[in-house]
């Protein structure tokens, strides 16, 4: 169950940081598809991971940026610290603005994370069946019960599966991504090339031992998973053979150039800078500024990064040139490339974003150089923390001061955050 994965991430965090459990003031988790039994998965996982039962926990949801929301809920606007993907901590300093718990002075130490268990999503009985079953509970006599049962028809047994589709438009995300790619004239070849790049870079990072945010997870009854297991560099020829997955038969989004759904959990330790220093920690990074944006869920579903990037830069008083590492959520290769084109278009900035000019496209040599969701996988609710911690690790490894994290999310929403390397 999802709380097991979340528990593992929390325990990993405890192990790596050796933070005393009772210091943690609050726990926030993000998740998208909720297991009904553990709807507040943060609390169940925290209890199971051995945190104090005096530490409150709540769960947030905001589609693919749920754990980003968990982090910003914990930290508030402005500076904060940092943490871990499949666990690792970090710190931060107090931030005056915003409503987050640390910023508001509510807490000093917060654990934020996210979890998604895509391999066992809740599948429901049909509404008719549910209604019958609930009525059955209230039926008193055997006669009433039998008469209810006799009304059950074969179609009552058709289950309801959760779909990766927008509620408002009924369009699946892949379909929308294909239309987005077409709108920006992104070709199939460009998408395949980008996906290949993501897999190759992830493989390289993994081989070089850079993906150190991963903690091993023992799958009950099976082997221990020690590394990301979806990295599969292929060839353009192989990828070119795949049929379109959504817009058939002429679409461009395929299984190979989309992020894959996977199980995963992440956790991150966030503190005010004073608290971290007082406790003898050396923070990894500051979480500086962040923004949330939203736009048309039909035609601009996945353009969140385009809208969020200039906004967060403005808020932080930075320009694109000040950013040393970019860590963007790769939902689809076509989505990333469309965003890059949109960010590089004055026409789009003027006509759709109400800006005078474009923000510019991030240079690729600073962009997702350790792979991304296309190659590492995308456990919805957990991805945000991975983006942030990867940005921090890349800053440290590659040198640089500022990192920019951006992601799109269902509902036509988006998020961006500035991460600053803690002075070494």
């Amino acid at each position: 169950m999802p709380h097991d994965l979340a528990r593992a991430a929390l325990q990993g965090l405890l192990t790596r940081t050796s933070v005393p459990r009772d210091v943690v003031d609050y726990i926030v988790y993000g998740t998208v598809i909720q297991e009904v039994k553990t709807s507040n998965v943060a609390r169940e996982a925290a209890l199971g991971a051995g945190f104090s039962d005096k530490t409150p926990a709540h769960t947030v949801t905001m589609a693919c940026i749920s754990s980003n929301q968990a982090m910003t809920t914990g930290m508030g606007a402005g500076r904060a610290s940092c943490g871990v993907h499949r666990d690792v901590p970090a710190l931060q300093c107090p931030c005056p603005a915003g409503v987050g718990m640390i910023a508001a002075g509510q807490c000093d130490v917060v654990v934020a994370g996210g979890v998604e268990l895509m391999s066992d999503v809740p599948i429901r009985h049909s509404r008719k069946m549910r209604k019958t079953m609930l009525t059955l509970n209230r039926a008193k006599t055997l006669g009433q019960k039998l008469s209810l049962i006799s009304k059950i028809r074969p179609d009552y047994f058709t289950p309801e599966l959760p779909a990766v589709a927008e509620f408002s438009t009924s369009e699946t995300m892949g379909h929308s991504a294909d239309r987005l790619a077409a709108a920006f004239g992104v070709s199939r070849l460009e998408q395949d090339e980008y996906a290949l790049r993501s897999h190759s870079l992830a493989k390289k990072a993994q081989d070089e031992g850079l993906l150190q945010d991963v903690v091993p997870f023992k799958v009950p009854g099976k082997d221990t998973v020690t590394k990301d297991n979806g990295i599969r560099p292929s060839s353009l020829e192989q990828m070119g053979k795949l049929k379109p997955a959504f817009v058939k038969p002429y679409g461009t989004v395929t299984a190979a150039n989309s992020s894959f759904l996977t199980d995963g959990a992440s956790a991150m330790l966030i503190m005010s800078e004073e608290k971290a220093l007082a406790m003898g920690y050396k923070p990894k990074a500051y979480l500086r500024d962040f923004v949330y944006v939203s736009q048309d869920p039909k035609d601009q579903l996945l353009l969140g990064p385009t809208y969020a990037t200039p906004k967060v830069l403005e808020k932080a008083g930075l320009t694109l040139g000040d950013i040393d590492v970019f860590e963007f959520h790769e939902a689809f290769a076509g989505q990333i490339l469309a965003n890059l084109k949109a960010m590089d278009s004055d026409w789009f900035a003027q006509n759709y974003m109400g800006r005078k000019s474009k923000v510019g496209a991030p240079p690729l040599d600073k962009f997702n150089t350790w792979g991304g969701s296309l190659s590492l996988g995308h456990p919805f609710g957990a991805t945000g923390c991975r983006l942030v911690i990867t940005a921090a690790h890349r800053l440290k490894k590659e040198g640089g001061q500022y990192g920019l994290v951006a992601a799109c999310a269902a509902g036509g929403q988006g998020h961006a955050m500035i991460v600053e390397l803690y002075p070494q």
């Binding site: 408002s168 004239g185 002429y250 601009q300 469309a338």
Partner: protein, 724 residues
């Protein structure tokens, strides 16, 4: 043989289809010889080995199959076939939202004889046949409306489409096999959504065309089991005969034989199936020619022009767009008005005086929208977001922001005055006050207003979400801007708008009055309601005359008849109004009360005559006058009174032109569309003949049949026509 045959799928907006196909009617202009002359309607780009043919009728929102376009198209296609380097072709429009809207009506109207039209049709067929048999694949990339008749063989679904001319959404068209691929519209990219979508459509189509030429793409449609079974069954003459019979009887029932085209279509399909394509094409062209010059065709084309005319705001743009609308009274009309407003994005306050009435009204709006969800023309999410524009309330909160108030309260001048005063106390200065009354003169209502220039009549028809007409009534004091604002709202609500002068019953109610009075008279003569209905629908009225009274409501009819009777005297006489009064007394108010001339029961389709009426009808029985009681006489008694009153409205300046008179009668009152409206009918039937009839009945029944001066003038000079 080419398996791709599509002759025009009618469509609603916003979807694009990619189709291997041919078009509606193309025609060749024989005099065009040079292929290199400047083309203005059709252009051709060669992209690699694919020719892209673009339609673009200059200075028009839509492309139509005019002689010019057809000639250029023929030239272009001949060049493509002659060009070795070209292996396939794509047909596309340069106009977003319109592929080809159909044959150019002006071209058809310019044809004097059936032979001319037949010639046009045959030229078109030849061209289409050539495309159908083209050695090079032709892909039609359709974005927007694509209309036009055609011979679609075999599919029962296609039968349906040909006969009713209904619009088909792109996804349905794909299911029906009319089109092969759908291209979803794109959102913004590096260009506007419209521009990029059409560019993308072209890219996809080019790839398909190339694929077809290279045989990497197959256009063979896999036929489902059902389709194969249907095809097999249709190949049996016996089954075919049965299908023809069923379709024919259905058509007969629906059209009463008043519309010649559907029957011709069946004949054409029959010939094509039984005797082969050549015979089918020949009879198709001949029938089309014959149909084009029928008076029904002229009447319907007249209505089309009228509709176009009534979709324009002759008062120009109002100073202030109506963004917030308030509707008073959540009854059938009020809720209907609210429904057609919220779904156009107008914030609408629906106010009633009682919670129960308000609940009913809100439920009506929900139900109306939800039925669209059930038909899949709206998603449940869109329904919810539309409903968020509706605010139901019992007080005047928020009226200070209203740009327009439409009252749909009880038809009583005192009630109207009361709400007018209440409303004027809370609305801003620019706010228009519109009354949805069907008969009370607007100037009388405006008499209670502090600002009569802002008062106007907006007469909707029930059910508001179905009836296309809106009759706007201006008084001498109504300002131009108020009128502009009302027309703008009506057009936004999707209405066909006529603007008339104030007077008792305005135009529509006033025309209906004498006719209904005559209906009562006929009933008094002992003709039973079912017979009256049959006689009137046989003439082309969509709803029988007795049923119409039940629908309108006997109480409302009584009110109107009394008011108008006072205003116009004997001309509205004929039937006895006391019959209505007695019905009201007995509670026989019509459909809404469950009883009127008929008994209405939920779920019962074949309603029976209300036996309680026997006594009432008996009481008012008058002896029939034997020499004017044939079915035809009864029809003419009803219609001549209608037409006479319509002409009177034109004569008195209530109507500004006959065109709006025809539109109002057809779209608001169900005047037989095949006759084109009272004025078109007067022209085609002959004013002289009409006056003769009126004189005949006048002699028998009295002055309610006295023809008006305008009709007499027309009768006296045969060259005078309402429509030139």
């Amino acid at each position: 043989m080419c398996p791709w045959q599509e002759r025009g799928a009618g469509r609603e907006n916003s979807c694009n289809t990619c189709d291997f196909s041919s078009l509606g009617y193309a025609c060749r202009n024989i005099s065009t010889s040079s292929a290199l002359q400047n083309r203005t309607h059709v252009s051709c780009d060669i992209k690699g080995d694919v020719a892209v043919v673009r339609f673009n009728t200059p200075n028009s929102k839509v492309n139509t199959l005019s002689k010019q376009l057809s000639a250029e198209f023929t030239d272009v296609m001949n060049e493509i076939w002659a060009n070795e380097a070209v292996r396939s072709a794509v047909l596309i429009s340069s106009k977003p939202g319109s592929f080809i809207a159909g044959a150019d009506l002006n071209m058809l109207e310019a044809c004097k004889t059936a032979q001319e039209v037949t010639q046009l049709s045959q030229d078109g067929q030849k061209m289409l046949e050539k495309i159908e048999n083209s050695p090079k694949p032709v892909v039609a990339a359709i974005s927007g409306s694509c209309l036009g008749g055609g011979l679609e063989v075999g599919l029962p679904a296609a039968f349906d489409m040909m006969l009713t001319g209904r619009n088909i959404r792109a996804d349905r068209a794909k299911k029906m096999g009319l089109v092969d691929q759908l291209v979803e519209p794109l959102g913004p990219g590096l260009k506007t959504p419209e521009a990029r979508t059409i560019e993308y459509l072209e890219e996809v189509a080019i790839n398909f065309a190339r694929g077809l030429a290279n045989k990497t793409v197959s256009a063979k449609r896999s036929r489902g089991l059902m389709q194969r079974l249907t095809d097999y069954a249709m190949a049996l003459p016996f089954v075919r005969q049965q299908v023809y019979k069923t379709v024919e009887s259905k058509v007969q029932k629906q059209t009463k034989g008043l519309y010649p085209a559907p029957l011709k279509i069946i004949e054409v399909v029959k010939t094509g199936l039984d005797q082969g394509n050549d015979a089918g094409y020949l009879i198709e062209a001949q029938s089309f020619g014959q149909l084009a010059v029928t008076k029904e065709s002229k009447a319907l084309m007249g209505l089309y022009h009228g509709q176009v005319h009534c979709k324009k705001n002759k008062f120009g743009n109002p100073q202030k767009e109506v963004k917030t609308l308030a509707v008073l009274g959540a009854g059938l009309m009020g809720a209907g008005i609210a429904q057609v407003s919220v779904d156009k994005g107008i914030k609408t306050i629906l106010k009633d005086t009682a919670q129960k009435g308000l609940d009913r009204g809100q439920q009506q709006v929900y139900k109306g929208l939800n039925s669209k969800v059930k038909k899949k023309s709206l998603t449940s999410f869109e329904r919810d977001s539309i409903l968020s524009n509706l605010m139901g309330q019992l007080d005047y909160k928020g009226f200070e922001k209203a740009d327009m108030v439409i009252e749909a309260v009880f038809e009583d001048i005192n009630v109207k005055h009361k709400v007018l005063k209440e409303v004027e106390a809370v609305i801003p200065a620019h706010c228009v006050f519109a009354s949805n009354t069907s008969a009370l003169p607007i100037s009388q209502i405006a008499a209670a207003s502090k600002r009569p220039e802002k008062v106007i009549g907006m007469h909707y028809f029930s059910p508001v979400d179905k009836m296309q007409l809106l009759e706007i009534i201006t008084t001498d004091k109504t300002s131009q801007d108020t009128a502009a604002s009302a027309v703008a709202v009506g057009l936004k609500q999707g209405k066909v708008v006529i603007v008339v002068k104030d007077g008792p019953g305005f135009y529509t109610t006033r025309c209906l009055g004498p006719m209904l009075s005559e209906v009562v008279r006929v009933l008094q003569e002992g003709i039973d309601p079912k017979k009256v209905d049959a006689i009137s629908t046989a003439f082309g009225f969509p709803v029988g005359a007795a049923t119409l009274i039940d629908e309108v409501g006997v109480d409302v009819a009584t009110h109107v008849a009394e008011d108008l009777g006072k205003a116009f005297g004997q001309r509205f006489g004929g039937g006895s109004i006391d019959l209505f009064k007695l019905m009201v007394q007995k509670g026989f108010l019509g459909r809404k009360a469950g009883k009127g001339f008929y008994v209405y029961q939920e779920g019962v389709k074949n309603r029976s005559v209300n036996s309680g009426m026997d006594e009432i009808l008996q009481k008012f029985r008058v002896p029939p006058l034997s020499h004017s009681c044939s079915d035809e006489d009864i029809q003419m008694r009803l219609v001549t009174r209608f037409v006479n009153e319509a002409a009177m409205c034109l004569q008195e300046g209530i109507l500004s032109n006959p065109l709006e008179g025809d539109i109002g009668a057809v779209f608001g009152l169900g005047f037989p569309p095949c006759l084109g409206g009272p004025f078109r009918f007067a022209d085609s039937y002959g004013a002289r003949q009409l006056v003769d009839k009126l004189r005949k009945y006048e002699a028998v029944y009295g002055s309610q049949f006295t023809p008006c001066q305008l009709l007499l003038d027309h009768a006296n000079s045969p060259s005078k026509k309402f429509h030139q």
